[in-house]
Amino acid sequence: MSKTRSAVFFTICILLVIGLFAMNIVMGSTSISVGEIMTILAGKAEGTSASIILNIRLPRAVAALVLGGALALSGYLLQTFFANPIVGPYVLGISSGAKLCVALMMIFVLSRGKHIGLALMIVSAFAGSLIVMAFVLAISVKIKSMGILVVCGIMIGYICSAITDFVVTFADDSNIVNLHNWSLGSLSGIGWKEIRVFTVVILLCLIISLSIIKPMNAYRLGENYARNAGVNIRMLRVVLILVSSLLAACVTAFAGPISFVGIAVPHLVRSSLKTDRAGIVIPASFIGGSIVTLLSDAIARSVFAPTEVSISSVTALLLVPVVIYVMMKRKKDR
């Protein structure tokens, strides 16, 4: 890893983030000129256009930025934990677990005629992701094979999605119909209130992650050498599990499951940077996740506009080839 390489990488990434962020604000079914947007952003205009920009496009772009980063970071932490580059919150079923719990909680709360609070959303998503995580951990203790771990994760994900589908199908309250869109993954409908909540949680997670870069680096040499470097292994593992689950839960609670960002982005970052130093890969993955999610959301909104495609479908299309490439390359290196 050379310093120039990372400098170039971060410069390009920041430019891409700015560019994509701007594009996501400019682009949309209602055409609003750049000049107009500037006035709106300066707070000097009112009306429908201003409302579209300030209450729909801007929060959506911010959500893509923050949630995308959170997903990629969650994936990186999980990959470190399992010492396995083909895991992520989605393939391990953690996102689906969170989804199921949120769905159940929504139906339960809505059936009593109340509105679900943001905190409750996050808590139930977190609970769901932890339950699945516990399953996955139990399997990983019994079976050391990376492949089987991933297959089990995907199976668990399917089970959770299936149950979610049943629940959604048989609940006929009109509010629950909205659940259907959410359960496929979408950044629409996220408002400033939500953004404020999850940004705080995610930034907290990011800070915690950055505070454990030293034990994470040592952990790359395996549990025993890390212990010999003075790392408290149990503490590190608990932190990795809790933080990655909380990140995945946050994303799922607000945007539904977004596939493959967590697994593919850290890999793309590592291979462009040619290093796996946690101190660099953590911020790089976060930015990388933002870029991919901003781009995917732009595509999801615009390709069949005005109809919106689920963002998960776009990320799958973009990123599954990357995942397959990683798996094939690893096979070759053996």
Binding site: S211, A218, L221, N228
Partner: protein
């Protein structure tokens, strides 16, 4: 307890159930401790327990004197590092990053390395020769490179204890030797306690200071390689008793005889001498005649250099002597170099004396080359062939030169035996081959010091004369100042510096020459010690310590009539207990011993002698002669001779003493055990030496411990008690511990030499600046 290093007390380890119980081992700074044992014996489990990977099942692990369980993870990381067998595959992690992890216990929260940390990483990488791999990805390295990287990581962690699990597995011979040499060097350079497991016995034998053998769920043996890696023990440990195969050989063990505690010279070991990392400096001592005192001067120089921190090896290309020494490897060499090696504090190896001639008749000798007999030769033939041995001599010398900082070479006889000078391989010829500066030693005691030194110089060729860098006047009686005018004459006429005038020293150093004298001594002193002269007597040095007591006489008894009325009757060790018992019965000594003992004479049996004191000696497996023989019946014990030879260093105490020796109860006992049998009491009996190594009843005492009298407490205690009982008064105050005395003699020799020789000048001609 050692302040630094690792120590376990009654440690039990295993998964789910105990795999090894009651492990008490210790690793001291700068020492290499090696675990050996068959597959599955628990070596790796033990190491994993020590590193904290596995939970111990009982006992305590002390790290630098602290209980490991009470230390924080970072404290442990700062005291102990490791290289284990598990294969790690960190992706996209460069070699340098891997090594840097070693500094993590010292860095802040974010693991950012300071300049100092970086320098230490660089230093560790240089020491392990991996700087060129700095930016390569660890996962892409070869196994040998990976091991070196992990070693670098472990070193820059600056541990006090380094744990390595099979560090040489998967490595080819070059990497294997390279890695182990590095481990050895680093252990001594950085004073790290190294604890590792090894499958390669041949290497374990050479690299270790201490070998720990595990098997059968326990630690079977701890000791120096010479003590543990004996053929019978290794065969038993790995269950290959009786297995003969071309693939098995001497390299895996040492022959069952011989003992040595001194460290082995190892290649490229850390030396005090930085510019000299490969070849040793050399100095040669030649004499004007036989017995001019070359050996002593060489021995004294060995000790001086060793005391100054150098690694020293003695060397003499050719010895002629009747008595030889058997090294730990089972090779023969001359005794003078053994003494010199002891002075240098290294283990004697055959390379120190590549050619040994043992006269077999007035005309011929047995020729032993590098420790092995090559045949008998007449003097004429040898003289004709001796040039053929130059490659062997040089090979031996080169090997030592790779291992030591300084080689002290001793010449033989006079360098100017003009009729024999052609093809000389012992004096100037050798000096030429190895390019050694020469000190010429003359003996003033025998007179004619001027013709000795000046005449010798005169007879040397001009080239040879230039090699002589200094003259030594040896064995000067009286005040050295009186010879100042003589020095001036020698220096003017010889045009060579006089390096020193060495006073006459009466030092008892090696006993081999006086051995026959001892056996024939029949004089009875004030305190009379009678030793039964067994035909197969072994380890006669057991009684040398009595020399310290002026009034005591040690005489060897062969016939009943010679026994007389001794104060102390000793039955020494035997190489063949049953055979010697039969001899005793034949000679009639058997009955007189019983008679004397029954009269109340203090009777002590050591090893074989102890076995004889008992009721019966059985040899069911035919390890010695086979059969069974009734013993003296003075102690109610029975001995069964087995096939396993017990060879351990002994440290214990007198548990209880009956009869006259009651006063020595509680005294410390040191020594060693070499025996094949086990002796058990047949009735309730007082334990004599601890560890069930001996029993006593009345005035009859038996012990397996050789060197029993070496401790001054025992020597003084026994002599005082016996003389008091016999109404005599013997002065024992001057007695010291025997092994210490030998060291005292060596140190005194070195001290005398240092004060009489111009050491600064000697270091200068060696090419070393002090």
């Amino acid at each position: 307890m050692a302040e630094t290093g690792i120590k376990t007390e009654h440690l039990n380890i295993g998964y789910g159930s105990d795999l090894i119980r009651d492990i008490c081992i210790e690793g001291a700074p700068g020492k290499v401790v090696t675990l050996i044992g068959p597959n599955g014996s628990g070596k790796t489990t033990l190491l994993r327990t020590l590193t904290g990977e596995l939970k111990k099942r009982g006992g305590v692990v002390y790290l630098n004197g602290k209980d490991q369980t009470e230390m924080s993870a970072y404290d442990i990381a700062r005291s102990m590092s490791m290289v284990m067998t598990e294969k790690i595959k960190p992706e996209l992690m460069t070699t340098r990053e891997v090594v840097e992890v070693g500094r993590y216990p010292y860095t802040g929260k974010l693991g950012i390395l300071s300049e100092e940390d970086k320098a230490k990483v660089q230093d560790a990488m240089e020491q392990t020769d991996i700087t060129a791999l700095s930016d390569s990805y660890f996962a892409k390295l070869s196994d040998g490179q990976k091991q070196r990287v992990l070693l670098a990581k472990a070193i820059c962690q600056e541990p006090d204890v380094l744990i390595l699990d099979e560090p040489t597995s998967y490595l080819d011979i070059r990497y294997k030797i390279d890695l182990l040499n590095k481990i050895r060097n680093i252990a001594s350079a950085k004073n790290i306690a190294v604890l590792m497991s090894l499958h390669e016995l041949d290497i374990a034998k050479k690299i270790s200071d201490i070998v720990v053998a595990v098997g059968d769920g326990k630690v079977l043996k701890i000791g120096t390689p010479g003590e543990v890696c004996t053929e019978s023990f290794i065969r038993k440990l790995y269950n290959i008793e009786g297995v003969e195969s071309e693939l098995l050989g001497d390299q895996y063990w040492v022959s069952d005889e011989g003992k040595s505690d001194a460290p082995l010279l190892t290649e490229n070991k850390h030396s005090k001498n930085p510019e000299n990392s490969r070849k040793a400096k050399v100095i040669m001592i030649q004499g004007t005649m036989s017995n001019a005192g070359k050996s002593l001067v060489a021995a004294g120089l060995c000790r001086i250099f060793a005391n100054d921190g150098y690694k020293v090896a003695p060397f003499k290309s050719q010895n002629m002597a009747l008595n030889s020494y058997i090294t730990d490897e089972g090779l023969e060499m001359g005794r003078a170099q053994v003494v010199q090696a002891e002075c240098a504090r290294v283990r004697p190896v055959a390379e120190m004396n590549p050619i040994l001639l043992k006269p077999t008749s007035a005309m011929g000798s047995q020729v032993i080359v590098n420790g092995k007999v090559v045949g008998n030769m007449k003097a004429m033939d040898y003289f004709r062939h001796k040039k053929d041995y130059i490659p062997e001599i040089m090979k031996a010398y080169e090997k030592l030169a790779d291992m030591a900082d300084i080689i002290v070479v001793e010449g033989a006889g006079s360098p100017v035996e003009l009729n024999l000078k052609d093809g000389d391989i012992v004096n100037m010829g050798l000096a030429e081959m190895i390019d050694a500066p020469v000190l010429l030693v003359g003996d003033i005691d025998r007179g004619g010091i001027f013709p000795q030194l000046l005449g010798t110089l005169d007879l040397l060729t001009k080239k040879e004369r230039e090699r002589v860098k200094g003259l030594v006047v040896n064995k000067f009686r009286g005040d050295g100042k009186l010879f100042e005018s003589g020095i001036k004459i020698l220096e003017d006429k010889g045009m060579t510096k006089v390096v020193g005038v060495v006073p006459y020293m009466d030092l008892k150093i090696d006993d081999e020459d006086s051995l026959s004298e001892r056996f024939t001594n029949k004089t009875v002193g004030e305190f009379d010690i009678a030793v039964i002269k067994l035909r197969m007597i072994s380890n006669f040095t057991d009684l040398d310590t009595f020399d310290q007591i002026k009034e005591a006489s040690v005489r060897y008894v062969e016939k009943p009539s010679e026994l007389g009325n001794p104060d102390l009757l000793i039955i020494p060790g035997s190489k063949n207990t049953i055979g010697d018992l039969r001899e005793l019965k034949k000679s009639g000594l058997f009955d007189v011993i019983i008679k004397k003992a029954k009269e109340g004479t203090v009777t002590i049996g050591i090893c074989g002698g102890y076995q004889m004191l008992g009721e019966t000696v059985d040899d069911p497996e035919g390890s010695e002669t086979g059969g069974s023989e009734t013993g003296l019946g003075l102690l109610p014990v029975k001995t069964v001779i087995g096939s396993e030879k017990i060879r351990t260093v002994y440290g214990g105490e007198i548990v209880s003493a009956t009869g006259i020796l009651e006063a020595i109860k509680g005294s410390p006992v040191t020594g060693y055990e070499i025996h094949m049998g086990e002796t058990h009491p047949t009735e309730e009996l007082q334990e004599f030496t601890s560890g069930k190594t001996g029993y006593c009843k009345g005035n009859v005492y038996g012990t397996y411990v050789h060197g029993f009298f070496d401790k001054k407490e025992i020597l003084q205690g026994v002599v005082n008690a016996v003389s008091a009982a016999n109404g005599k008064s013997v002065d024992t105050k001057a007695a010291e511990d025997y092994t210490d005395r030998k060291e005292v003699v060596y140190d005194k020799l070195a001290e005398n030499l240092r004060s009489s020789l111009d050491m600064e000048y000697i270091y200068k001609i060696l090419g070393l600046n002090k």
